[in-house]
Symmetry: C2
Subunit: 444 residues, 2 copies
Amino acid sequence: MKKADVVIVGGSAAGIEAAITAQKHYKNINIIVIRKEEEALVPCGIPYILETLGSVEKNVMPTALLGDAELIVDEVTSIDREAKSVTTAGGEIIGYDKLMLATGSSPVMLPIPGTDLDNVFTIRKEIDYLQRLQEAIKKAEDVVIVGGGFIGAEFADECRKMGPNVAVVELLEHCLMLNCDEDFCIRIEDKMRETGVQVNTKCRVKSIVGDTKVEYVECDKEMRFKADVVILSVGVVPNTEIASDAGLQIGEHKGIWVDQYMITNDPDIFAIGDCAEKLCFFTGKPVPIRLASVATREARIAGANLFQTRQRRNQGTIGVFGTLIADTAIGVAGLTEGAAKNFGFDLVTGEAAAVDRHPGAMPGAREMRIKLIFDRHSGKMLGGEACGGITSGEIANVMAQAIAGGMTADDLAAAQIGTHPALTASPLVYQLVNAAEEALLKLR
Amino acid sequence: MKKADVVIVGGSAAGIEAAITAQKHYKNINIIVIRKEEEALVPCGIPYILETLGSVEKNVMPTALLGDAELIVDEVTSIDREAKSVTTAGGEIIGYDKLMLATGSSPVMLPIPGTDLDNVFTIRKEIDYLQRLQEAIKKAEDVVIVGGGFIGAEFADECRKMGPNVAVVELLEHCLMLNCDEDFCIRIEDKMRETGVQVNTKCRVKSIVGDTKVEYVECDKEMRFKADVVILSVGVVPNTEIASDAGLQIGEHKGIWVDQYMITNDPDIFAIGDCAEKLCFFTGKPVPIRLASVATREARIAGANLFQTRQRRNQGTIGVFGTLIADTAIGVAGLTEGAAKNFGFDLVTGEAAAVDRHPGAMPGAREMRIKLIFDRHSGKMLGGEACGGITSGEIANVMAQAIAGGMTADDLAAAQIGTHPALTASPLVYQLVNAAEEALLKLR
């Protein structure tokens, strides 16, 4: 029987980062990574394959990242916890000292008729499949995206650049509603519409209709959308079959239960990334956040904990996220106002808008709006949203460190920031600081 | 005698921000701002007047920012602490309940012959003066910048865009040496040279030579630079004359001494911005940091403390800074390795480089290098430097919040970050996290 000190099941972002971290923290261990795919795709880069990158090949993660870890291209079908081994579809049995599950997630399939028609796609991390999707869009006149979350919105934005008519059908009141508050959603929807995407919200898909190939998408309120291609982007579900078959505990949001050290209910098995349950930084309760940056963070925690199991602690997931639709970026950290209210927080918000360079006559200057959300009781920051240019992505990271550091509205209103005419807003109007000051004055 | 609840002396970034903050925190108070200039310039925007903005007018701070505060254009010549009033050059006496000194700083004049020749300029925040400087450069074939700090480097970068030959003469081993470590300085120097600026380091100016107008700059090592225009950019000195005349205490770095609440040794007088002494966040010792973002932060602290004097505390200045030379930006927070060593810290550093978008084929992707500096004893972050594209400015703010929150290398190696293909580096190689991991492994 083949055996390794560490067997990692799954070789996308989480699995690769776990292999990297394990090698950094533990010398002279052998690691086997088992994944189904010869090559793994950059998960967040998938929408950009369509037009910005132009090909699937440009979105491949270099296998060299695995370093000295051995890659086996195969599928793990079961775990024998007693024998401490995994069995693969190829019939191999591989023993482990520590097992790391990084099995990812799969697209949710809508329970409606017609999802099996030709040219109905989900978003799979598979090279051939995505190539077929790209080819189908190239020939399409009408593309319908079902689901206006950030991935749906990114696909819509890429599709429209390729030429076809693009319609987004979203069940909720707004696109991106799980990621940011209404006013920020509307900003992105406006951008989508400006660039020619037809945005339909509060719209439920009833069926996908066609002979062998999709012809249109049938919705409630007697709405019907012509479609040569349909992309279903309605969420993902953790891949936990081998884990639950092996008796590992599954959490409320269908991920593999893990403790603060990323260890499952088997002390020799870790779970990380989309397949693992996440606890909220603010409430300690399970949250359905699935992002590559969260997955790699969990891999860094688990990788360090492999043989010294209490090294690095996961104090809960803040959730930090960015996207770019047309020329408008959004960066979000922590809870939205809506989410914070749902969790029962008594909150206070502050907002500020200003150009992101200074003076406003600097080339490339554009408006950035920031909203911050604070707990009225402790004054601590619960979340923040930025909408503007490219720097919104790193602004989300500024906000995330402020949250992680337990900063209050008062702390942030006198935050230590650096500014430069060509790089940031003016220190007089720096949005993060001014939004905090606004919130603080309401807290009084 | 005219009287106000608050009299602010100086109306540049610090004075304006103090007026704004005071109005936010205290309703129904009257505020008088006294400054010499009808219009104030955006301090950091001054180099960009030359070419990027193209005119001084585009770099004016709107007076409307003062809100309901009354602006008096005049110069305060003395303070009568007993009568609680100030006297102006125009002969007015104005009473105060609280006085806020935001008198700024003035360019250091080199103690060498020839600084009084025509076409020898310093960098003054004066509209007419800067217009004359701009006109002189337009006609110049050769411009020499004395002092290669970030302001000198920015002036050099703007001048070369206007066409003349530009030479920088710097006394220290490298340009920007007070702002970042050697390898980062060299990156900027390389950029300057690439764009045609002649960079001369370890070079001491002995005299400026000419008949009535400058003709050349004479240096040690028998070096001589032809010059139609010379710009002296060798630092600033706090404007503290009226403060010291009034018996206010002056600090080690020549700023007006203030406590953690920005109060001078007179409980009714605050001092903020370039004229005020700054204490280091890491050591509590005086540091000669003078930045607009620091000035406005002090104004936010002082403004909130005006009538409830222990509201907001200054826990010491981290110093966060950014610049852009040609297409390369630098963002720095906290101590450089050099500064940390000078302060006696036993330190450990980590570095990481990667493209700032992902995958690397994303348009606009370019390398960003980050170096982090940690205290070996506590593991806490002492400083960080980023060199790359536009987002380096906000990366400095990510680093600053990490420092302010007392994050250690271990905290940062599993920091909560958000990533997006078009906005940030990949989560697998996010430089801040990987640099922290590298440092952490050295700490073991």
